[in-house]
């Protein structure tokens, strides 16, 4: 069996003696006899490192890794600079604890302060926290932030990621908040319905931008509608799109959240990802989770410390608005390194590449395959094409090492990111044309 216990048999005898204990069994004297696990656990026997490596690698090998990925829907295959992996795998950052002892944790604290600043820069908002679990949890926590006496209904666009809607509904089952879905019309939030539905008891409205179908929403107009009803405006944004689109701040958002996975985190079958949360200054104290602040030490040297801690569970306990303790710190750190590596130029370039390539692909699908877009509004890097036999198309693409778009009602939700070359897109088109030709023959 593998073990990380460094003490020797002889040392353990010494330690038992020093502690005045006759045997290991005596250490568990308080445990009722009947409760001891008698036979060994029904687990495999421990293995040597060589065997463990083989066993786990065998599991990894059972997964199919695609050379070209044209699927998004909440998880995006972006370019990750070499600096990111190199810096974020440093053991100092990986094995550190939460920076409660600020004097020896300035590295962690400063890196989180830098991350918070970069999230504010990206979203245009005033204040950011140090992360929550993912974009879906962030949406749910944002709704909690907006609850007030008399305003207890949460509205969410039907054009949001279904997993976000589900998570919000689960959290709201806990808090007793009614969740009302505002319908979709032509691939966008139905603004007329929204204006009608928002009443005096509306706490907030959540809008995804770009939305789940890839379409750009009229966020500023919606913001006005929401504020006119006295409710708060939450935007769930794609961080890459933020580099070029009108920011949540510019659209009047009170809270901006989103899935930060595109900021240097691998797809990793869904986790660990990153929930970022930013807000206007007036809502600062409603942010959940850890926040790093700047201060000075007794000698006047600038330093950083966890602050506004009286909001949190370890102090407020049953009076805290969120229970969050551990967050996604290393993922937030990763996002910070990514944004620093990419800089303004890189982030804007990545966004433009994504959008341009996606439009190129959509154009070729239309002109050379004959597939229409389901929605004809402006889109960023995702779009749905209508298709009668998505399974056949996707299956064939997969045989060629291409993960096609996500099959959705009536079609396929495609995503193109900056890592996909024109050649790869042209190749995909060729394969799809062949499938269509075959289908036409049938």
């Amino acid at each position: 069996m593998g073990t990380y216990i460094p003490t020797t048999e002889a040392q353990r005898e010494q330690m038992l003696a020093a502690a005045g204990i006759s045997s290991m069994r005596e250490l568990y004297a308080n445990v009722p006899e009947s409760m001891f696990i008698r036979d060994s656990l029904a687990l495999p026997q421990g293995k040597s490192e060589l065997e463990v490596r083989a066993a786990v690698t065998a599991m990894a090998d059972k997964n199919k890794v695609f050379r070209t990925i044209l699927r998004g829907a909440g998880a995006y295959n972006h370019f990750i600079p070499a600096t990111v992996r190199s810096i974020t795998s440093r053991e100092e950052f990986v094995t550190a604890y939460t920076p409660y002892q600020a004097e020896i944790s300035q590295g962690i604290l400063q890196s989180i302060f830098e991350y918070q600043t970069m999230i504010c820069m990206l979203t245009g908002m005033d204040v950011s926290n140090a992360s929550v679990y993912d974009g879906a949890a962030a949406a749910a926590e944002a709704i909690t932030m907006c609850r007030e006496r008399g305003r207890v209904k949460a509205y969410i666009s039907a054009c949001s990621d279904p997993q976000v809607i589900q998570t919000v509904q689960t959290y709201c089952f806990g808090s007793g908040t009614e969740v009302i879905i505002v319908p979709e019309k032509d691939g966008h939030t139905d603004t007329a319905a929204l204006a009608e539905m928002l009443g005096e008891d509306a706490a907030c409205f959540y809008l995804q931008q770009p939305n789940y179908y890839g379409q750009m929403e009229e966020a500023a107009v919606i913001g006005d509608i929401v504020h006119a009803a006295g409710a708060k405006f939450i935007m769930g944004v794609n961080p890459i799109a933020c580099a070029v689109m009108r920011t949540p701040y510019e659209c009047g958002a009170d809270v901006a959240v989103g899935e930060g996975q595109p900021l240097g985190l691998p797809l990793a079958f869904g986790g660990p990802y990153l929930g970022f949360m930013a807000c206007v200054r007036s809502m600062m104290r409603r942010l959940p989770g850890r926040i790093v602040g700047q201060t000075t030490d007794v000698e006047g040297t600038r330093g950083f410390v966890l602050t506004l801690t009286a909001r949190e569970q370890h102090i407020r306990r049953e009076k805290s608005s969120s229970n969050i303790c551990s967050n996604q710190a290393l993922c937030a750190f990763t996002a910070g390194v990514y944004m620093a590596s990419m800089g303004e130029k890189g982030m804007k370039q990545a966004a433009i590449l994504c959008m341009s390539k996606a439009h190129y692909f959509a154009g070729r699908l239309h002109n050379d395959v004959g597939w229409h877009l389901k929605y004809d509004g402006e889109f960023f890097h995702e779009f749905i094409t209508l298709c009668l036999y998505p399974e056949k198309v996707l299956e064939t693409l997969e045989e060629h090492g291409i993960l096609g778009g996500l099959p959705v009602e009536g079609g396929i939700l495609w995503c193109v990111t900056e890592v996909v070359t024109k050649e790869e897109l042209d190749r995909a088109i060729d394969i799809i044309r062949e499938v269509c030709a075959d289908e036409a023959d049938i």
């Binding site: 006496r149 104290r285 506004l308 801690t309 009286a310 102090i315 407020r316 009076k319």
Partner: protein, 124 residues
């Protein structure tokens, strides 16, 4: 440690200054602020809130703790001292000047102590 003569005091270390028959100002005492340490924030009630004697009506935060502030009177919040949000240190520096709220339409009051009784109470 100060114990102004013209105020009344609760057992939970709040002071009351009666204004008209059914209105008062409320704050925390010098003893309270010294026990609580440096205060960094106060979660003020809202104007219009109904408060009930013997219950919590707001809380104050230090870096490491949250402490409930009780009201010894039943009534309605008429005004709140918003300046405390930006400058919570006033509660430490000038506890009897830094009123937290003005409560009106008072219908019930707990038994309160005068300055001498409260001073003795604090010494226990």
């Amino acid at each position: 440690m100060n114990f102004p003569e013209d105020l009344k005091y609760s057992r939970t270390h709040e002071w009351i200054k009666m204004l008209e028959p059914a209105t008062c100002l409320i704050g925390i005492t010098d003893f309270a602020q010294s026990e609580l340490g440096d205060l960094v924030f106060i979660n003020l009630p809202k104007v219009g809130d109904e408060v009930v004697k013997g219950s919590v009506f707001c809380d104050v935060e230090s870096v490491k703790t949250v402490s409930d502030i009780m009201t010894p009177v039943t009534g309605t919040i008429a005004e709140i001292n918003e300046s405390l949000v930006e400058a919570p240190q006033k509660l430490n520096e000038d506890p009897f000047g830094a009123w937290i709220a003005k409560i009106e339409h008072i219908t019930a009051v707990e038994d309160l102590m005068d300055a001498a009784e409260y001073e003795a109470f604090c010494k226990i």
